[in-house]
C-alpha cells in the first residue's frame, strides 16, 4: 500500500482533528500514526496515512486543502518514500539531556549542534523559554538515542563544555531513571 504524510499547521481551535479525520475517511485513507502538538496557541499535527489504490498523494492534498484552507490551516502533503520498513537502526541507548539557565538566542542551535556532531539522534524535543535569567523559566529537554559506538564520556564532556559557555546547567541521564522514578 502507498502511504502519504501530511502536516497541518494553524491557529488552534476546536474541530481541526475531526475535520482532517473526516476528509481522510471520505477519501478511504487509513490513519496509521498521528502526532499533534500545541505550541502556545498554534496547532501542529502530523498524519501518516495509507492510501487506497488509485489515490495519489497529490489528489489527497487537493481534497484536504480545499476543506482546511477556509479554516485558516495550512497543509503540506508528501508521499512516503518507502512503503517498506526502514532499515534497522544501530543499537542505541535512550538518554535525556536537560538544560536550565538564562535565555538567549541560539540555545537550541548551539546544543543541538553538539548532539548532531556526535551522531546522536534527537527523538523528542521540548523547550520552554519564558525569557530572562531565572533558570526555571528556560528549559530544554532533549530525548536522544545515543548509538553504542558513541563515546559517552566525550559526548557528555562536550555537552557540558558547551553548556558552560552558555551559562546553562546541563544534565545527561539515561532515560530509565525517569521511568523508574515515576512509572510503575
Amino acid at each position: 500500500m502507498n502511504k502519504a504524510i501530511l502536516s497541518i499547521l494553524g491557529r488552534d481551535r476546536p474541530g481541526i482533528v475531526a475535520t482532517v479525520a473526516r476528509v481522510l475517511f471520505e477519501q478511504s485513507c487509513n490513519i496509521e500514526n498521528v502526532s499533534q502538538a500545541m505550541l502556545q496557541a498554534e496547532f501542529a499535527g502530523i498524519f501518516l496515512v495509507g492510501l487506497p489504490n488509485g489515490l495519489t498523494a497529490g489528489e489527497l492534498h487537493r481534497a484536504i486543502e480545499g476543506r482546511l484552507r477556509p479554516l485558516g490551516l495550512q497543509v503540506h502533503t508528501k508521499p512516503c518514500e518507502s512503503a517498506g520498513e526502514a532499515c534497522a537502526p544501530p543499537a542505541c541507548e535512550p538518554f535525556v539531556i536537560t538544560t536550565r539557565g538564562p535565555d538567549r538566542r541560539g540555545l537550541v542551535a548551539d546544543i543541538s549542534e553538539v548532539i548532531a556532531r556526535h551522531g546522536v539522534n534527537i527523538t523528542n524535543l521540548q523547550a520552554f523559554f519564558k525569557g530572562g535569567e531565572a533558570p526555571g523559566d528556560n528549559i530544554m529537554i532533549y530525548e536522544v538515542d545515543v548509538p553504542a559506538s558513541v563515546d559517552h564520556q566525550s559526548f557528555a564532556r562536550d555537552l557540558q563544555a558547551r553548556a558552560q559557555s552558555l551559562h546553562l546547567d546541563l544534565s545527561v541521564q539515561h532515560r530509565n531513571i525517569f521511568e523508574a522514578l515515576h512509572r510503575i
Partner: protein, 457 residues
C-alpha cells in the same frame, strides 16, 4: 515520551534534595580462605577481595554517571572474620584486619565490614580471639569495621559476651584517646544482626550467603524532608495520614533508584544482586538529616514528646513505599538515628532535647538503636554493658534488630564536644545515669533467656 514534569521533578530531587544511592556494598564470601597459617590466610583474603572488588568503584562511578545519580559510598562486607580466622590468635587477627585494610585501600572503598563475630549463643575460640583483637585492629586500621552479634530472639542475650564487649569498647576508646575514641565509631554490637545489610559499621556477609552479592542502601533523608516541606507549603493543614502517604510515595521513588543502579552494577560485575536496604541514612550535612524531618512534621526537635510517634509514622511509611518498589528488600530497612552523623540530631542532643533514655525509647519503633552516641569517658565497662543489654533486650523481645555504637570519649565529660571527623561527624557528649557506678546485676553474667515467643515452631 516523558513529560516535562517527570524530568524536572527528577532534576529537583537530584540537585536540591540530595537524591543519590547512599551505598553499594559488595559482599564477599571468605569462608574458603580459612586456615591455620596466617600468611596463607592473608594471601587468600587479599587475592579474593582485590579480585572481586577491583572494578567495584569504577563500575559504580560509571553507572552513577549514566543515570546522573551519584553512588556516594562504595563498600565491602566480608564473611565473619571470627569464622574465617577461627584458628588464629588475637595478634594474628589484628594482622588479618590490616590485610583487609590494605585491600580496601587498594580497591578504593571507604569501609570494609565483617571483622565480626556471632556470639549470641556462646563464644567459640575464633570469637574470643576476634573480640580480643578488636581494640587494636580498629585503632591501627583506617577502613575496617567490626560488629558482634551478642543477642537474638531465638537465643536470648549473651551477657558474658556483653561484659567482655564493655571492656573491649573501653580499650578501643583508650587506644584512640587522642581522637576522642574514634575506634569505637567502627564497632557495632547487635541483637538480631541482618546478614545482608549494606550500611556500616555493621555490614558483614552472612554465613548463608553466596560467593559474592551486591547490596544497596537507598538515598538519604533529604528527599523525604523536602517532599514534606513542599507538601506542607502547598497545604499547611495536611493531616498525618496524608503525610504518611506522601512519605510512602517518596520512599517508592528513592527505592526504585537504588534498585535500578544496584542491579546494573551487579550485572556489570557479573555478581548476583542481593537486596535494597530501605534505611534512611543521614550524613552530617544540612538538608540530609533525619532530625530535620521531625521538625518539618511539626516537632520542636527530635527528642521532645511526640518523637516516638513521629518516627513510627516515618519508618512505617518508608517501609511500605520501599517494599512496593523493590522485589528484594532486606538489610536493616529502618530509619537510622546516628547522633553524631546527623547534624540536626547532634544539635538536639546539645540543646538538651534528646537524652540517652529517649534515644533508647525511640529505637522501639526503628532500628540500629543507640547509634554514634558519645558518652562521658568515665562511663565504666559495666555501665556500657548495661546500656547495651537494655538496647539489645528491646530487639530480642520485639523480634527486631537493635544495636549500639557507643563512644565513651576519654577524658571528656557530659556537655563537652567530641570530634570524629568526616562522615562520623561530631557530637555533644550526653550524660549517662550512674555512669561510673557499681552494677552487680550486670556482673552476674550468664545468659538472659530467649523470650517465650521465640518458640514458634
Amino acid at each position: 515520551m516523558l513529560t516535562g514534569n517527570e524530568i524536572i521533578s527528577t532534576l529537583e530531587m537530584l540537585k536540591n534534595e540530595n537524591l543519590d544511592v547512599r551505598t553499594v556494598t559488595l559482599g564477599i564470601n571468605l569462608l574458603d580462605c580459612a586456615g591455620a597459617d596466617l600468611n596463607e590466610v592473608r594471601r587468600r583474603v587479599a587475592e579474593r577481595v582485590m579480585g572481586l572488588a577491583g572494578r567495584l568503584v569504577p563500575v559504580c562511578d560509571r553507572v552513577g554517571r549514566k543515570y546522573g545519580i551519584p553512588v556516594v559510598n562504595k563498600r565491602i562486607a566480608v564473611s565473619p572474620i571470627a569464622v574465617v580466622g577461627a584458628a588464629l590468635s588475637p595478634a594474628e587477627m589484628v594482622e588479618l584486619a590490616r590485610t583487609l585494610d590494605a585491600a580496601a585501600r587498594e580497591v578504593n572503598v571507604d569501609f570494609i565490614g565483617g571483622f565480626s563475630a556471632l556470639v549470641e549463643k556462646g563464644m567459640a575460640r575464633g570469637d574470643r580471639a576476634l573480640i580480643e583483637a578488636i581494640p587494636e585492629a580498629l585503632a591501627t586500621t583506617e577502613r575496617v569495621c567490626a560488629s558482634v552479634n551478642a543477642a537474638s530472639t531465638r537465643a536470648g542475650i549473651n551477657m558474658d559476651a556483653l561484659l567482655q564487649l564493655g571492656r573491649t569498647i573501653k580499650r578501643a576508646a583508650e587506644l584512640t584517646a587522642a581522637h576522642d575514641g574514634y575506634a569505637c565509631t567502627k564497632l557495632c554490637v547487635f541483637a538480631n544482626i541482618p546478614e545482608d545489610m549494606p550500611f556500616m559499621a555493621g555490614a558483614y556477609l552472612g554465613i548463608g550467603e553466596a560467593d559474592a552479592v551486591i547490596n544497596v542502601g537507598v538515598s538519604g533523608p533529604g528527599v523525604v524532608k523536602k517532599a514534606v516541606d513542599r507538601a506542607l507549603a502547598a497545604r499547611p493543614d495536611l493531616d498525618l495520614g496524608s503525610l504518611s502517604e506522601l512519605i510512602k510515595k517518596t520512599a517508592y521513588k528513592v527505592t526504585r533508584v537504588g534498585e535500578l543502579i544496584g542491579r546494573e552494577v551487579a550485572e556489570s560485575l557479573g555478581i548476583p544482586f542481593g537486596v535494597v536496604d530501605l534505611s534512611l541514612a543521614p550524613t552530617p550535612n544540612v538538608g540530609d538529616s533525619v532530625g530535620e524531618i521531625f521538625q518539618s512534621l511539626g516537632l520542636l526537635a527530635i527528642g521532645v514528646p511526640g518523637t516516638t510517634a513521629a518516627l513510627a509514622l516515618l519508618n512505617d511509611a518508608v517501609k511500605k513505599g520501599g517494599a512496593f518498589a523493590s522485589s528484594r528488600v532486606g538489610g536493616m530497612s529502618g530509619a537510622f538515628i546516628p547522633v553524631s552523623e546527623d547534624l540536626n540530631i547532634s544539635e538536639a542532643a546539645r540543646a538538651g532535647h534528646l537524652c540517652i533514655e529517649k534515644l533508647e525509647a525511640i529505637t522501639s519503633v526503628c532500628s540500629v538503636g543507640l547509634d554514634m552516641v558519645a558518652i562521658p569517658g568515665e562511663t565504666s565497662a559495666e555501665t556500657l554493658t548495661a546500656i547495651m543489654a537494655d538496647e539489645l533486650a528491646i530487639g530480642v523481645v520485639n523480634n527486631k534488630t537493635t544495636a549500639t555504637r557507643l563512644i565513651p570519649v576519654p577524658g571528656k565529660a557530659a556537655g563537652d564536644q567530641a570530634y570524629f571527623g568526616g562522615l562520623m561527624g561530631h557530637a555533644t557528649i550526653i550524660p549517662v545515669n550512674n555512669a561510673a557506678g557499681d552494677n552487680p546485676f550486670i556482673r552476674r553474667g550468664g545468659f538472659i533467656p530467649a523470650p517465650i515467643h521465640s518458640l514458634k515452631n
